[in-house]
Subunit: 138 residues, 3 copies
Amino acid sequence: MRQATHTLNIETNGPGLYEFTHRVLDWCQQQEMHEGLLTLFIRHTSASLTIQENADPDVCHDLQDFFDRIAPQHGNYLHSAEGPDDMPAHIKAALTQVQLSIPLMNGRPVLGTWQGIYLFEHRHHRHTRRVAIHLLGE
Amino acid sequence: MRQATHTLNIETNGPGLYEFTHRVLDWCQQQEMHEGLLTLFIRHTSASLTIQENADPDVCHDLQDFFDRIAPQHGNYLHSAEGPDDMPAHIKAALTQVQLSIPLMNGRPVLGTWQGIYLFEHRHHRHTRRVAIHLLGE
Amino acid sequence: MRQATHTLNIETNGPGLYEFTHRVLDWCQQQEMHEGLLTLFIRHTSASLTIQENADPDVCHDLQDFFDRIAPQHGNYLHSAEGPDDMPAHIKAALTQVQLSIPLMNGRPVLGTWQGIYLFEHRHHRHTRRVAIHLLGE
């Protein structure tokens, strides 16, 4: 049993879902493990992770729209010093994932046919988001 | 330290919460590990996982009702080609879990007294859902 | 590769976010591992876990306020025998996390600068909440 770690930098340019499935799969493959547990952890509180359908781009649009409606920019928040998009960003992060773990079988993460791994950016400014990756197995 | 993997097929017949705690506990017990980490991962984007109270069935009813209200079928979605229940299903999946990890102590997952493991089906048609299980420990 | 387990008891006194980052970091440090995977699991269904900004306390206030609005006490629930704050508690738990895993690199969990680990209490009475901790690595 051994482990490997890595940090991905993901550039974002405004709110939305950024798929990075291939970067994860590529790094996994380089570790040459057959079976194990892969963990992704985003080191931020105003962007988050989600696994969603990567077939129809409308799904991402509707998801973003849903979260904008449930946590609107003008929501009468106490926390406003970092801009009107910051508190909604924290709410959206709380409602989605800071971390995802995916078992590895037969040499690859067991993602379903339509499952893609996404960084969900909730803020308007450009950011470089850091996602820590950990793989344990053999 | 060693690991074991398995895939559970879970039959669903319309939206709702399907408990499968016993299937997980049974499989775990067969692996004869004393301490470790158990991970469940659902390979779909229109059904999800959750851990909830398994004492009063009304809890499951109210949960389903809450998610139907927050992500209604007629929600003015762009993504509608797969039926009116598909986009709400993706939203409900984003709001709950694609994956759960539970530590194993003294030979069993440390679920609390009232915690049950549920597959949360969000679609109306019958489905066979696949949940990958990974156990690491000794 | 080795593993260590522990259970934290966390006292709560009404709804809100209780940070316990330092208790987790202190325990981790005592295990003297350089690289690994840390998992926290809350053994309850009416309190949950979340990682949030720990700089401005207003963020916690606004988060709590958001969840109170989305899952109000008087929400016409079937499940009411355990008090009006119980069903909203289950909903809030379903929307946040029962479990968090954080990779360990260079001897510590890779939390971002502003990330704190919180127990999110959803009930009004005093409780002692149990959080299982599992660490795997070397």
